[in-house]
């Protein structure tokens, strides 16, 4: 009996799998639009799909239309793995996957080299995956957590006249894999630059932080790094206000820097700063999305006011990177036909989005210049700091900030080589 439902189900499933589609570049999107992180997921995947629709409306990438399929993961690793397994064989096979979840990314990390499907981790995940010799199919594009942490310290040092010597910085973090990821960088920089690092964990989900902020008030830090996620962020901002801690001294991670984090905090969030790898504002590409998609009812977001919001713009950025990778791969392997996962991997490894290319897309300065190589799957590491003025985010650093790249590189090499030894991988560049 226990097998019968599975077999019946299998038969149904076999019927559901569509035959191979020609002239389509298929992307797997294990997304989440319900559950605790729905606000981030809907904005991000909405942005990717909006950009794909825009490209398809203009005829696709050299005539190749982009196809995609979503699968609801609810941010749950188990469902994420199931979604990946389901999506990877659809429509002749997925050639790219972006789960936007550290746990799901870890869950499929070992499967993607076997399936030859490149995975991007834009702004999250394993920082050491920047080493393409060990992780040929993984791309933590634009900036990893380690680059972000190094840039945060750089920004704070600049703010304090170039040195953090004798200063005190509190790292208030989500007590999970995500919150602990930057610790190696912060600890190394604390010894190197002579500032005191006070680590204060917040138990997930972080809806109660009275004790932590009392501790912060007693420690009298010069800065607080808020490494939060979801509900933890607005609670932190509100509790800081109640404890009379100036919001200008709080610097949030980029998952603590969206409208969804600040709007619920109301006035308490005014003056709060956070990291970003986008420059907030309006861009020709967003106007195009408004005009060509939302005017004709083809946009993905239900609420048009969210066009150009932090998560939506992050999704559009991801979409641009994917499309450029397809373009790059087609330039090498033949224009006008879909590329395979292996070829797209090559494209992702040879991205070059300089100012000129960004201008052609209509997104100048929306994100930093991205130039990837086998040694550097991150391609940039540059970030910006943005401030909430009570209504919207504004960039307060005109230039892109880059932290201590040498230190990050060393940590990446150490950690990825350890992984390679554990897994018996021989580090090498792929042709």
């Amino acid at each position: 009996m226990k097998l019968l439902p599975s077999l019946v189900f299998g038969a149904v499933l076999a019927g559901a799998i569509a035959p191979a589609f020609a002239q389509e570049q298929f992307v797997a999107l294990p997304s989440y639009r319900v559950g605790p992180y729905a606000s981030g997921g809907s904005g991000f995947y909405g942005g990717i799909i909006d950009y794909f629709s825009l490209v398809n409306a203009a005829g696709g990438v050299n005539g190749v239309k982009i196809a995609w399929q979503e699968c609801e993961t609810e941010y749950n690793p188990s469902r994420g793995v199931e979604c990946y397994e389901r999506l990877k064989t659809q429509r002749g096979g997925a050639t790219l996957v972006e789960p936007l979840s550290t746990s799901i990314a870890y869950g499929i990390l070992d499967r993607i080299p076997k399936d030859k499907i490149p995975m991007t981790m834009i702004g999250y995940g394993r920082s050491d995956a920047a080493n393409g010799k060990v992780f040929p199919y993984v791309f933590p594009l634009i900036s990893s957590y380690w680059s972000q942490a190094a840039a945060m310290v750089k920004y704070l040092a600049d703010k304090n006249g170039g040195s953090l010597k004798g200063k005190k910085i509190v790292h208030l973090y989500h007590d999970s894999a995500f919150g602990k990821e930057p610790l190696p960088v912060l600890e190394a920089l604390a010894t190197q630059q002579g500032f005191e690092l006070v680590k204060i964990p917040v138990a997930p989900p972080g809806s109660e932080q009275q004790a932590q902020w009392l501790q912060i008030r007693q420690a009298r830090p010069d800065h607080v790094i808020l490494w939060g996620w979801g509900v933890m962020n607005s609670v932190a901002i509100k509790t800081a206000q109640r404890n009379g801690f100036p919001r200008e001294k709080i610097l949030g991670v980029w998952w603590a820097g969206s409208e969804e984090d600040t709007v619920p905090s109301g006035d308490a969030a005014k003056g709060y700063t956070a990291m970003s790898f986008n420059t907030p504002g309006n861009y020709p590409v967003l106007d195009e999305i408004r005009a060509k998609l939302y005017k004709t009812g083809k946009g993905n977001l239900a609420d048009q006011a969210r066009i150009g919001s932090v998560y939506h713009m992050r999704g559009v950025t991801a979409g641009i990177l994917f499309v450029e990778a397809m373009r790059t791969a087609q330039d090498k392997f033949g224009k006008g036909k879909p590329v395979t996962g292996e070829q797209l991997r090559w494209g992702l490894e040879h991205l070059n989005l300089d100012a000129a290319r960004q201008k052609a897309i209509g997104a100048v300065n929306m994100f930093p210049t991205v130039k990837t190589s086998c040694e550097d799957h991150e391609g940039s590491g540059a970030v910006k700091v943005q401030q909430w003025d009570g209504k919207k985010w504004n960039a307060i650093t005109p230039n892109w900030i880059v932290g201590d790249r040498a230190l990050v590189k060393k940590l990446v090499d150490d950690s990825s080589n350890k992984y390679a030894a554990e897994k018996n991988i021989k580090p090498a560049c792929m042709p």
Binding site: S6, F9, G10, V12, A14, N76, V81, S103, L109
Partner: protein, 352 residues
Amino acid sequence: MFYREAGQFRTTYEADGQILPIRQDRIFLLATLAVAVLAVPFIASPYLLSAILIPFLIFSLAALGLNILTGYAGQLSLGTAAFMAVGAFASWNFVARIPGIPMLLAFVLGGLCAALVGIAFGLPSLRIRGFYLAAATLATQFFVIWCLTKISWLTNYSPSGVITAQQIEIMGYAFDTPQRKYVLVLLVVALLALLAKNLVRSNVGRSWMAVRDMDMAAEVVGIRPLRTKLLAFAVSSFYCGVAGALYAFAYLGTVEPEAYNLDLSFRILFMIIIGGVGSILGSFLGAAFIVLLPVFLNIVAHGLALPTSVASNLELMVFGALIIFFLIVEPHGLARLWQIGKEKLRLWPFPH
């Protein structure tokens, strides 16, 4: 008709005491097992194996563990996922720290570690029961996850606290394809299910049920409640621990605390409630229901071309409604429905 027992006589105590006294059941089970071992790995697609059947078997094992504790010994528990986490992390550490340790031995040791934790957190069960015990086991859930995020030795000082599971290798044979993993999981689950079935029929199982039905009376007739309850906790946690190790090694590929959150505990609790509390078969039916239904609804919604946000909310609604429907129509779960069906088939086509 299908279950007509005419002509099946049991003339010895052995025949009377066997697990499946009806010949049709025996044939059916053996046929199912034969298909599962000999045919499924060759005909099923890798997706079906690695995304559906493997998690289904692993959740069945976890549900079996919880069923032993809750269904047979009557001790409510919300810490199932925590015991699974202990099993997974312990197995990972045994493999990582003792070079050359046989993988199956690591799973067993992981299960034993989970059993020890289960005993420790089962201690309050002598004094408290029902919902209060559920709250106490909830503490296991929070404590274990807290420990795993706090003590970085357990994750071998990995900066993010997430570690990738080692490849399963038994006697030089690598279990790296979905087919091989499926066969391994199937064998482990089948073996442990058989063990569980025998355990609940033995005097240990009888004393669990006695304690469940009325522990005062059980004590009067000479059953030691503390020992019985702790044994139930130990056996149940062992099952959950092995399930957790399989979940990490054969399904997810990573070992991380997040994967063993409270949500998982609840899902396993739903499995035994829907499948049938106090039934071995029910654990499998419940796991199948909880694993397959969301996937099935998801695919149906995709076939109807619904927007994903509508589809996933619809999925939650249908799921919730079905659970309520099942609980109203058959509070004893799917296993009881199967039993009723069997009784009807015995008389079919001539009902009384």
